[in-house]
């Protein structure tokens, strides 16, 4: 058995007996082979000293059991790291930030407590996956959609608590934004319900989010203030139709108008979902050293020649893909309206995309371009970094660098150049580089995916590049929306206004709510007092 830091062996041995009494010995995993299943399978530190490995794992079945475990951990000051389904691959998996923490695996708490069709919400426990909720809704034939991230096996709660995202419409696609009401167990075992849930017999816990007084839900996301044991989510009444279409513009400088109009359509609600900006010509430019150099320098003369080049090979410089969900007439009219808003751009082109009516049989949904955009959970996204004809050896997963940039043409060009330069100069091996995409309302996120391998030197190099990207992005005013556990301090340090005032405030709250600092130490850079004083962890 491995031991956590800061706890004496006799104390931990006693605690393990108490854990077993609280939840049954079958659900206290002390055997190293069992605990190794909680290593981060996509760890960029695999096999190195720094790799984050838990000591033991506990799997309670109810909020009461979570309370009992937290009381024991608090009494012995045992660091504990709650996960819901522990599938946060690319962002740290189920491994703790503080090496040797005890993983609190909530997968067995898998009840769907309530689904309301008429008021379109669900109340679930942490172990409920997107597949589970989707299947439940299908089996009961409810006229509701879920909004899921790409991988279907993750949990509504774990995903939302890390500010995860999906692909249908606002407000469902930003999963923390779509939540309404929480139940949380605190470090001392106390249990709290937020929002209207604080009212005994509340009838609107999942409908009215603010409750009474200060709204505290935000404290429990990307943090370490409690163990969330229930959460409500708003669901999308199944739309009637979907269509997509693409707008392509020919000139380098057309990106400004393309993004300006897109943003306006979004802010006014005509476009109610994510859109991005791609550069169809980028691949061709990459093959042509002269054009690549001109693209990077982009003075007036370069732009004139680039535009000529684009026209000569009849390839648009930029393109955006738009999606519309809702009643058939509205979906059709929205696409027509959208096209009219771009019609003034010289040489603009429009291409119709998918045009679907619902309900559709599952088999047909799985034949569409991307079922995740239609609220159907799947695992098809794992093609990223998978073995393929282009990459016959495959990878051991990936790591996501995901800064948030403004929704402007300047930011599209600038972020592309600045981050691209770091990657080129440092020789990074990226698996994918998702063009600016509005994962969240009103901003673009750029997602740079790095290949993770089992080669220590290659992983070290990746970490070095990642840290440089965090720094360079911060110099330009771009911060990460979320990060891997290996870089939590780096990204937190970038948010340094007034001598890290925000982090200092978060740490004051941490000390007040979890004075022994037992929950998820170090998550999002928030360290408890006893570990802040230690220089190694400061």
């Amino acid at each position: 058995m491995r031991y956590p830091p800061g706890v004496s062996q006799p104390d931990f041995d006693r605690a393990v007996l108490e854990f077993e009494a609280a939840i049954g010995s079958d659900w206290v995993f002390t055997d190293e082979a069992d605990v190794d299943l909680y290593r981060d399978a996509y760890s960029p530190m695999w096999g190195e000293e720094e790799e984050k490995i838990p000591s033991i794992a506990l799997a309670p079945q109810s909020a009461e059991e979570v309370q009992a475990l937290m009381r024991i951990c608090n009494a012995y000051r045992i660091p504990v790291y709650p996960v819901s389904t522990g599938k946060n691959l690319g962002y740290g998996g189920s491994a703790p930030v503080l090496n040797g923490s005890v993983v609190l695996d909530l997968k067995r708490m898998n009840r769907i407590i309530e689904v309301s069709e008429d008021n379109a919400f669900a109340l679930v426990e942490p172990g409920v996956s997107y597949f589970d909720l989707y299947n439940y809704i299908q089996e009961l034939g409810l006229d509701l959609w879920i909004d899921c991230p790409d991988p279907g096996w993750g949990s509504l709660i774990g995903n939302a608590l890390d500010h995860g995202v999906g692909y249908t419409v606002n407000p469902y696609r930003d999963h923390f934004e779509a939540h309404c009401g929480m139940e949380v167990v605190l470090a001392d075992g106390d249990i709290v319900r937020t929002g209207m849930g604080a009212l005994p017999n509340a009838e609107t816990w999942q409908q009215y989010r603010w409750g009474y007084g200060p709204w505290l839900d935000g404290l429990f996301a990307q943090s370490n203030f409690g163990v969330v044991t229930k959460m409500g989510f708003w669901l999308y009444p199944a739309p009637e139709a979907f269509r997509s279409g693409s707008v392509q513009v020919m000139g380098y400088n057309d990106v400004h108008e393309l993004v300006r109009v897109t943003a306006r359509l979004m802010y006014s609600g005509v476009l109610n979902t994510n859109a991005g900006v791609q550069s169809p010509i980028q691949f061709v430019l990459g093959q042509n050293p002269e054009m690549a150099e001109r693209y990077d320098r982009a003075n007036a003369e370069d732009i004139r020649i680039l535009d000529e080049f684009a026209r000569s090979i009849d390839t648009p410089f930029w393109a955006s893909q738009f999606k519309f969900y809702g009643p058939r007439e509205i979906v059709d009219q929205s696409w027509e309206y959208t096209k009219r808003q771009f019609a003034h751009i010289d040489g603009v082109r429009f291409t119709d995309g998918e045009n679907l009516d619902f309900p559709m049989p599952y088999e047909e949904l799985m034949q569409t371009q991307d079922e995740n955009h239609l609220g159907v959970p799947s695992m098809s996204v794992f093609q990223l970094g998978n073995r393929s004809n282009f990459n016959p050896t495959g990878s051991n997963g990936h790591l996501g660098f995901s800064p948030v940039v403004p929704m402007t043409g300047e930011a599209v060009i600038e972020s592309n150049k600045v981050l691209g330069r770091v990657l080129r100069e440092m020789g990074g091996s990226t698996v994918f580089n998702v063009p600016p995409y509005s994962y969240h309302q009103r901003t673009f996120t750029i997602l740079v995916g790095f290949t993770v391998t089992r080669d220590v030197d290659a992983n070290r190099k990746t970490r070095e590049i990642f840290r440089e990207l965090v720094k360079v992005a911060a110099e330009h005013g771009w911060g990460e929306y979320r990060t891997h556990t290996a870089f939590m301090d780096d990204c937190a340090q970038a948010y340094s206004f007034n001598n890290n005032a925000l982090l200092r405030l978060q740490q004051r709250l941490k000390d007040a709510i979890d004075p022994n600092g037992i929950i998820s130490a170090g998550r999002y850079g928030i360290w408890p007092k006893h570990l802040r004083e230690d220089d190694d962890n400061a």
Binding site: W27, L37, I113, V115, L140, S380, R387, G394, S395
Partner: protein, 106 residues
């Protein structure tokens, strides 16, 4: 207001005493099919095995004739490339034995 109130014991808690392989199929459908079902475009396990075996062996695990419970267990508990290992709260040792029975040729 029509509220559907329902306590669902989802897969992990399912109690199946019957035929091992029948339960093994249920385990397979829940945990493996999303990546190993037929059709490589949407099923990364299948597409990777197409590339590895180039038709020498079926790319769909359920069609394989050479899998043994030991081999299945080794992959499930160790993972391979982008397929992470599965924890015991996801697939218990009993589930794994049933899954092995289901995937091994009878």
């Amino acid at each position: 207001m029509r509220n559907v109130i329902f306590i669902l014991m989802v897969f992990g808690a399912m109690q199946v005493q019957a035929q091992d392989a029948v339960h093994g199929k249920a385990v397979y459908e829940h945990w493996c099919s999303p990546c190993h079902a037929p059709g490589g475009r949407k099923h990364p396990g299948t597409s990777a095995l197409e590339i590895i075996y180039k038709g020498e062996k079926p790319a769909v695990l359920e069609e394989r004739l050479d899998l043994t419970p030991e081999l299945v267990a080794a992959f499930v508990r160790n993972g391979v490339k982008i397929m992470p290992p599965f924890r015991k709260t996801e697939i218990s040792d009993k589930d794994l034995a049933d899954l092995g029975a289901y995937l091994s040729p009878r």
